[in-house]
Structure formats: C-alpha cells, structure tokens
C-alpha cells in the first residue's frame, strides 16, 4: 500500500493490506470506464482512489 515502510508493519497488517488490491498505480475509474495506470498528474479522482467514485459519496443512512 503506497509508500509505507513494509518493515514496520506486523504480519497481521501486511496480510490485511495485502488482501486489498494496491490501487496506488491507478487513477480512478468513473462510471465503469477503464482506469488509467500510473498517472502522475493530480486530479480529484487521483486523490480519492477508485473506491471514492462509488462507495464513499453517500454514507449510511437508515
């Protein structure tokens, strides 16, 4: 996951973080479009990651 020094992480943490795909190299996919790899430019999607496009915008209501 990103730039964390893996040596500092416990085995449990490494397993947990390893269970999620490293989205670091990707810009976000919006509305099902193919995500672009390793964009160096900064835009709002890049800051939030693919998750944000889908699941973070509306929180849990009822």
């Amino acid at each position: 996951m990103g730039k964390v020094n893996q040596l500092e992480l416990t085995v449990n943490e490494q397993a947990f973080l390893g269970s999620m795909l490293d989205i670091g190299p990707y810009t976000a996919s919006k509305n099902g479009e193919t995500p672009k790899k390793d964009s160096s430019h900064c835009d709002p999607c890049d800051a939030c990651g693919p998750d944000a496009c889908y699941s973070d915008d509306v929180y849990f209501l009822n």
Binding site: L21, Y54, Y59
Partner: protein, 349 residues
C-alpha cells in the same frame, strides 16, 4: 498516487430534533440509545481522531470521519471537534438533517473547514415530512442546504430509497439543484430485521433494477446541473468489468464496493463499534484501537472472506461488489449471505 480512505462514521450524539420512521436509533430502541447513555467525552473523541490519523498514516490511507447523530449539530462541542479534525488533517463530513443550518451556523462550519455536509431528503415536501414526522422538516432542510451552499460548503443530498419515496427521486434532484447542492444520490433501505422482506418499505431486486435504469437516464439529463451519484454498492454490478477488476479477480483481492470488514468502522455515541452503521453487531469499543479492531475481530475477518461470500452467493463479482452485508443480515440473519436486493440475474436476461 491513488490512496484508499480509512474512515469512521461516528454517532456524535443521540439527540435529534426529528423522529424519522426509518432511523436506526428509533429502530434499535432506547435500550441502546437512551438519551442519558454515556456519550464519548471530548477527550475520547480527540483520541479517536488521533488514532484514525495515525492508523491511516501507518497504512498509507487517507483518514476521514463522517460525523453523524442523532443530529450532529445538537452536540454542543461539534465545532471544536471539527476544528480538531481539521488540525489533524482528517477529512470531516457532517451527516445532518439540515434543519439547524442557519446562516450563522453555515458560517461557523465553513470557518471550521468542514469538507462536506450530507443532508438527508427523503422525497417531496409531503413525503419527507411524513417520514421525518415533523411538519417543519422539509422547509428547514432546504433552507439549511441553501445556507450552507451560499457559504461555499459542498452539500450532498442523500435519500434512503424506500417504497414511500422511490418515485420521487427526480423531484429530489430538481429541488437539490435549486437549493445549491452539488451532488445527489440514494442508498438502498435496510429492512427491519424483525420483518425482513415483509417490511412494507423493502424495495425488491426488480424494483432496484428499475430504479438504477431510471437513475442512469437522470444522471445524463441533469449532468450540467448536479452530479447524480451512482454510489450504492450495487452499482458495481451495473457497470461493465474493466481491467482493474480483472486484475483483482486474478489475485482474489478486494478492489472496492462494500467497505465493511476492510477500511471502515461505525462508532456509536458511547464508543461501541459496529462494522457498518447498518450492520448492528457489537464488535468492541473504540478505545481498543482502530487497528486492533479491524485486524483482529472475528466478524471483521469473516467479512474479508471473499471465498465464503462467493460460495454463498454464487457470484464472481465479490472483489468489487459483495452486495450490502447489512441487507443480507437484516433479511436472512447471516451477514455473509447473498444480498437479497441484488439484481445481477436480471442483467443477464
């Protein structure tokens, strides 16, 4: 570089000036949410924010807190909490009913750099007031959205999709635009666990499918005026698979979709932790530490078991969907079961 969010939805208070029919506080009853139940003190809240910041930093994630209630503006120290979150560079949002956002309050919130305010609107005026059980609820909420938007705060309008209001989403979009909101979306309703699919507000898979079809058109129609969100977890099965999904499938790793078990916790007003606000399973107390709870609690580990959900639901989309675990739990009593609102079979026809 893209980073994941690590976030907490926190019930800052049990107090509220409305009495909404679908609110989990009312549903869960006074035994859990009695007004005199011990609230987290300011010092405890600050420790939680520190923990969120440090854990996110350690895991290379972006820390984010959504402050809910009750009505969060009824907690006296809400400005101090927002200020502290901002100082710690933790992104903060308020989940509010909007009725208490006066011009003065909007100014204060803006000055404390709240990132977003989500205001719940559940239909047109008549429907909203009926659901919220207060005659003033709609007008005051719209006024609150206007006050916040005028001040420059980003406002998202959010609806809980139920039988009572599923025909009114376009009304909500139009009124959100008029009030100055920049985003609008809905989340599916979690039925009462005692009623399951017999809950009169339950929206079934076919109806959800129809609603998504309609929303796709609405998004296009209103694209110049507002962002119509496609943020409910089931949108994952609507969109076509792409390269990143293929990579996640190949590696059998979580990509996105439901965050329960992975990078989200819900904290009640007394510090009790649920995996999600809509999944009422007590998994500990926030004082145990965010990292420990996420890594070590058995419920959290099980929620990360993609193979189990894949086998239960006979679905190959678990790396990017997994349905809503809370709806599965409410209807079947098993949070690892297939989401009863899932409409993927309809897409094949």
């Amino acid at each position: 570089m893209a980073k994941r969010h690590l976030y907490i939805q926190w019930d800052s208070t049990n107090n509220c000036n409305l009495k909404c029919s679908h609110c989990y506080h009312n549903r869960e009853g006074n035994s859990l949410h009695a007004q005199d139940k011990k609230l987290m003190e300011l010092d405890e809240v600050k420790l939680m924010i520190d923990d969120l910041k440090e854990t996110a930093q350690r895991w290379s994630m972006i820390p984010r807190i959504a402050i809910s209630g009750g009505e969060p503006l009824m907690r006296e120290d809400h400005l101090e909490i927002l200020e502290y979150a901002n100082k710690k560079k933790v992104i903060s949002s308020l989940l509010s009913n909007g009725t208490l956002i006066t011009p003065k309050k909007a100014k204060e919130l803006y000055e404390k750099k709240v990132d977003t305010i989500q205001v719940s609107i559940d239909g047109n005026k008549e429907t909203h007031n009926k659901i919220r059980r207060r005659d003033f609820a709609y007008d005051k909420a719209i006024e609150g959205i206007k006050n916040a938007s005028r001040k420059g705060i980003k406002v998202t309008v959010a609806m809980t999709l139920m039988q009572s209001n599923k025909e009114e989403f376009e009304d909500i979009i139009q009124n959100a635009i008029k009030a100055g909101a920049i985003k609008v979306g809905f989340k599916t309703y979690v039925p009462d666990a005692n009623l399951g699919v017999k809950d009169p507000e339950f929206v079934n898979a076919k109806e959800i499918y129809d609603m998504f079809k309609k929303t796709e058109k609405l998004k296009e129609n209103y694209k110049n005026d507002i962002n119509v969100l496609q943020s409910d977890v089931l949108w994952q099965i609507w969109h076509k698979d792409h390269e990143l999904i293929e990579i996640a499938k190949k590696q059998n790793k979580y990509l996105y979709g439901c965050s329960a078990g992975f990078r989200m916790l819900s904290v009640l007003s007394d510090g009790t932790v649920y995996p999600c606000r809509r999944l009422p399973i007590n998994i500990g107390h926030i004082s145990e530490g965010i990292g420990k709870i996420i890594l070590e609690k058995e419920v959290m580990k099980e929620l990360r078991d993609l193979d189990k959900i894949r086998n239960n639901s006979l679905c190959d989309k678990v790396v990017h969907c997994r349905g809503c675990r809370a709806v599965a739990y409410a209807v079947t009593g098993d949070y690892m079961a297939k989401d009863p609102m899932c409409f993927k079979d309809l897409l094949k026809r």
